[in-house]
């Protein structure tokens, strides 16, 4: 594997329980050799570049009430004021006022907001990346209606262009951009896997069909760590009788361009999927169990493409729910109690809140909701790329305890989710705390309980 590493200074550890970088833990990470002044300028300019009316309105509206801290799992578990969501973009608020707002020249002329320094940005790297999963819970508590999470994403644009991204995140993002998959799931690896899985599970997995109604995609984590998900997808597609395919020119739904803040890489990754779907004339593109992939393509895809997409984009849970409704997806009853962990980007910020619950209802489980649940559910703590950042582990484990308590309190036998990134975070947390619960994939649970097939 290491032979294919793009970044030789920080080689990826692909065999570890979590994909990460072998040489982690430099306090402030920097990429490239760039003078500090240039770094700052790049950060500010690229932060501002993608600004628009709504971001500016958000920037202007904060009254510093501090309520957002209460919604943030990083603050809730540590009580450390620096994790107050709006504080995480403080240098960029300053930059906005100075560089972009309606009174920008006024601020510059009187030097009312001092220019941001590279030291300040380095200091904020932890706040913008390590301690924000972009889960968007803070956006809902804000009495001014500021979508703080969207501002963090914009801040990441600036940080990425300035080369101020945590190593691991940078490394996987760079790898994704250069190889087509952040975690080494290159087309060749993917093809090998499909062949191997088709043999092992004696199932037909169509690849590179010229025409198909449905184009399925996968996340790197699934391909590399949870290949059963690929099998599950194939089983379900077959069960509902879909005309479907995988394509080597567009299978990787993971978008570390988005997570790291590199807007160019984000676009490249998304365009591969869009082009592939168009190439095979797909009517529906099915996104895998992956949170940020949903946000990246379902809600940002068309905007990167520049016009409405000529196909539908649905999450696999939505796809399953549709077929439960149409009667094509017939499931066996599972007589267990289940609690559903809402992946932030799919439920809270994605709007696909009821689909997984409809599928669970079809499985006949007893659904015990967490408190709070659905759009207000607590994040697992691994989203937004945080799970890849080694130095953030201690913090992430603290946050994860919140999640464990929440699930334990439901008394449900099985935790279920529909995001492989959440699942990976849970697996890692389970191992760390020697917790007695294992996160399950909704997709795999459905595939295991298809009517008329042996489990």
């Amino acid at each position: 594997m290491s032979a294919s590493d793009v970044n030789t200074e920080h080689p990826l550890e692909l065999e570890a329980p979590r994909f990460s970088v072998k040489k982690p833990a430099v306090r402030y990470d920097k990429q490239g050799e760039v003078p500090d002044a240039d770094r700052v300028q790049r950060a500010m300019q690229n932060f501002v570049r993608d600004f628009g009316r709504s971001a500016a309105i958000y920037m202007e509206s904060c009254v510093h009430c501090g309520n957002c801290a209460e919604a943030c799992h990083f603050y809730a578990t540590t009580g450390d004021a620096k994790y107050t969501p709006i504080w995480k973009i403080e240098p960029f608020k300053q930059a906005y006022k100075r560089e972009y707002g309606p009174f920008a020249w006024f601020y510059r002329a009187l030097n009312l907001k001092s220019a941001v320094t590279v030291e300040r940005l380095e200091e904020w790297q932890e706040l913008i990346y390590d301690s924000c999963t972009v889960c968007g819970r803070c956006s809902l508590v804000c009495p001014m209606g500021i979508d703080i999470a969207s501002l963090v994403s914009l801040a990441r644009h600036g940080m990425a262009k300035a080369g101020l991204v945590p190593h691991e995140l940078w490394a996987v993002a760079e790898r994704g951009a250069k190889e087509g998959s952040p975690l080494g799931a290159t087309p060749k690896v993917f093809k090998d896997r499909l062949e191997w899985l088709a043999d092992d599970y004696e199932i037909d997995i169509p690849l590179d069909k010229a025409k198909a109604d449905v184009l399925c995609t996968m996340s790197s984590i699934e391909i590399m760590k949870y290949p059963e998900s690929i099998v599950a997808t194939a089983k379900i597609m077959k069960h509902v009788g879909a005309d479907w395919t995988f394509r080597l020119d567009g299978y990787e739904a993971t978008n570390f361009g988005l997570l790291s803040g590199n807007a160019d890489w984000q676009r490249d990754m998304s365009m591969k999927l869009i082009d592939a779907a168009i190439a095979c004339g797909a009517k529906t593109l099915v996104l895998p169990e992956c949170g940020h992939a949903y946000g990246a393509l379902r809600w940002m895809g068309a905007n990167l493409y520049g016009k409405p997409l000529p196909f539908r984009v649905v999450h696999i849970a939505e796809f399953m729910a549709e077929h439960v409704k149409s009667g094509k997806l017939k499931l066996k009853k599972v007589g267990k109690s289940v609690t559903f962990h809402d992946p932030c980007q799919i439920s809270r910020r994605g709007g696909a809140i009821e689909a997984p619950r409809e599928v669970l209802a079809a499985l006949g489980v007893e659904l015990r909701e967490m408190e709070p649940s659905k759009g207000l559910n607590w994040c697992c703590g691994g989203g937004g790329g945080v799970v890849t950042i080694h130095r953030a582990d201690a913090l992430r484990y603290r946050v994860f305890q919140l999640k464990m308590n929440q699930i334990d309190e439901t008394g449900a036998e099985l935790p279920v989710t529909s995001c492989s990134n959440c699942r990976q975070t849970f697996d890692d947390g389970q191992a760390h705390f020697k917790w007695d619960k294992t996160m399950n994939s909704l997709l795999e649970m459905v595939a295991d309980n298809l009517e008329g097939e042996a489990a």
């Binding site: 600004f51 628009g52 009316r53 709504s54 500016a56 309105i57 958000y58 202007e60 509206s61 904060c62 009254v63 510093h64 009430c65 501090g66 309520n67 801290a69 209460e70 919604a71 603050y75 004021a81 620096k82 107050t84 709006i86 504080w87 403080e90 707002g101 309606p102 009174f103 006024f106 956006s139 809902l140 508590v141 804000c142 009495p143 001014m144 209606g145 500021i146 979508d147 379902r298 809600w299 895809g301 068309a302 905007n303 520049g306 016009k307 409405p308 997409l309 539908r312 984009v313 439920s347 809270r348 910020r349 994605g350 709007g351 696909a352 809140i353 709070p372 659905k374 759009g375 207000l376």
Partner: protein, 228 residues
């Protein structure tokens, strides 16, 4: 020209002018920024229903009540106290009616058939006291609470000052305490003018932008069917 004449005359004219220029400058400067149309396929047929957030975000969701109750109660106390003091005190009403007539060319009373309602001086004083007490408590909270202390800047403290100043000077003038009445009323007017002049440049602009930001989030989230 004495202090009161300045405060009632050119002082007020300039303050109102700066206020109007500043507020519109900022609002136009925000609204005319680039706004890309969202091309993704909407989940909700009409995102306009998201504008309900302008109203619904006025109180916290149940999940957030516990952590925010203190700020919410004080915030409401201040806002209600301030609003009632501002809008339902007869001397203020007379000013607003004059502005109304000056801008629309018609008497408020003639147009609506009723006089702009107002409270007795004692009631207004009570609301003013509520607002002042809430502001003081909020300031203490801002200084004592680590989160608020960290995220606060000059704007927060200065805006606090220019907000409490008219309340305090107004109540001193009402009670005729501490200085000749003309001085008190002049200070009251000057403090109002300071408030008006500072208004567009600081967080006080949230008076207007709260509708824009809540509405923006409301519509953006609503079209996705996201939790609002």
């Amino acid at each position: 020209m004495d202090l009161l004449s300045f405060a009632r005359g050119p002082g007020m004219t300039w303050a109102v002018t700066i206020f109007v220029v500043g507020v519109l400058w900022k609002l136009a400067g925000l609204i005319l920024l680039r706004a890309r149309r969202d091309l993704s396929e909407a989940r909700t047929p009409s995102a306009w229903t998201g504008l309900r957030a302008i109203l619904t975000r006025s109180w916290p969701r149940r999940a957030f009540v516990h952590g925010t109750a203190f700020s919410e109660v004080l915030g409401y106390s201040f806002h209600i106290g301030f609003l009632f003091t501002l809008v339902f005190y007869l001397p203020h009403v007379l000013f607003f009616e004059d502005v109304f007539k000056g801008l629309l060319g018609v008497n408020f009373q003639k147009l609506f058939g009723v006089h702009w309602p107002y409270f007795s001086g004692g009631m207004v004083n009570f609301f003013g006291a509520v607002a002042v007490a809430a502001l003081i408590a909020l300031l203490v909270h801002r200084i004592v609470n680590p989160v608020k202390r960290l995220i606060s800047n000059f704007d927060d403290y200065f805006s606090w000052l220019v907000t409490i100043a008219p309340l305090v000077t107004g109540m001193l003038a009402y009670g005729h305490v501490g200085a000749p009445y003309q001085t008190l009323i002049a200070l009251h007017l000057l403090s109002v003018e300071l408030l008006l002049v500072w208004f567009p440049f600081g967080k006080l602009m949230h008076t207007f932008t709260v509708f824009l930001s809540r509405g923006t989030q409301g519509m953006q989230f609503e079209r996705k069917g996201a939790t609002l």
